[in-house]
């Protein structure tokens, strides 16, 4: 049963990936829609970023002095000025670890 469920979940996920690429003619989308689509990264990724920082594994809000907030601020600063993905991730993780393990 679990196998069957996984396969259905996989097919649905694949359909989400495939539909707009293969089945929908792009000319159906008007110029205004295309202009709005340019915002997709900015409109989607914060929905992963914000809960990943502000909500803990139990689904509740973290305290405002949580080390993840500090880690995220460091990552934003390092990322903005270095323009480097590795530096962004590593600086965020390390500043988070420094607080939880050393302080």
């Amino acid at each position: 049963m679990t196998w069957f469920t996984i396969i259905i979940a996989g097919i649905i996920t694949y359909l989400m990936r495939m539909t707009m690429v293969a089945l929908v003619d792009r000319d159906l989308l008007g110029e205004r829609v295309k202009a709005v689509l340019a915002y997709v990264p900015s409109a989607v990724f914060p929905a992963i970023i914000f809960p990943g920082i502000f909500i803990n594994d139990y689904g509740t809000f973290i305290e405002m002095n949580d080390p993840k907030i500090f880690g995220a601020i460091i990552a934003i600063l390092v990322g903005y000025f270095s323009r480097n993905v590795i530096a962004t991730i590593i600086s965020g993780l390390f500043s988070y670890w420094i607080i939880i393990f050393l302080l």
Binding site: I6, S42, K68, G79
Partner: protein, 228 residues
């Protein structure tokens, strides 16, 4: 004009830095599956069949918590519905591919690959073999996802929870959007999405992950209208 191989390599190099987040998350994902008492083969098969980190974890947590198969499948569908938006953006650049190639390349579209290839596409619209970038980025993510979830399955409970490795996920996406914080319109869209995601976090089936982008895109449309 770049060759296929050059573009493919650029795709690999563009997502390579994200491995600092993808690999820890893959390990956590595999380890959680084992911790929840699912068979290793099943946990691993999800990485091939579903190939979507967050949705794989939610799926297993729901089933082990006693949720029905319908709820688990619906949640995976809702979480992964954001790929409709990625597809809509990418379709412009994949238009010329044959139907079969479109079907095949779709399987490889995941968050970081979409983000990095889309950045490349915007700057190199006139290249002929654009889709090789997506093959490079998506293929690299696929291989690393397979290896890292497998590693998590083998390591299982040896992965220390205190490390908070899941925190690598928001960081990798911060790296993707952080250069856009100098543009006011993008900042407005990002904050709208982020605040909506917190506001709707408890909505059923994890639907905050698609509700907040839709709200943010409406705000983007408003911003565009005001700019004119």
């Amino acid at each position: 004009m770049l060759t296929k191989k050059q573009i493919f390599t650029k795709g690999i190099l563009a997502v390579a830095p994200h491995m600092f987040s993808v690999i820890p998350f893959g390990i956590v994902c595999g380890a959680i599956g084992i911790e929840l008492d699912f068979s290793p083969v099943l946990v691993y098969a999800m990485s091939i069949i579903i190939f979507g980190g967050a949705s794989q974890i939610v799926f297993l947590q729901l089933l082990s918590g006693g949720a029905s198969a319908l709820i688990a499948v619906t949640s995976v569908g809702v979480i992964n519905s954001r790929h409709l938006l990625y597809g809509a953006v990418l379709s412009e650049y994949l238009e010329k591919l044959s139907f079969i190639k479109k079907l095949l390349i779709s399987y490889l579209v995941v968050d970081q690959g979409f983000a990095e290839s889309n950045k490349f596409f915007q700057k190199n619209k006139n290249e002929t073999h654009l889709h090789y970038h997506l093959l490079g980025s998506g293929g690299t993510l696929w291989v690393c996802w397979q290896i890292s979830t497998l590693a998590g399955i083998i390591l299982g409970s040896f992965v220390p929870e205190e490390l908070g490795l899941k925190f690598a996920v928001p960081l990798t996406f911060i790296a993707i959007v952080v250069q856009d914080i100098k543009k006011l319109d993008h900042v407005i869209v990002m904050i709208t999405c982020g605040l909506s995601s917190l506001l709707f976090f408890d909505a059923p089936f994890k639907s905050y992950i698609i509700i907040s982008p839709i709200i943010a895109l409406f705000v983007a449309a408003l911003v565009l209208r005001l700019k004119k």
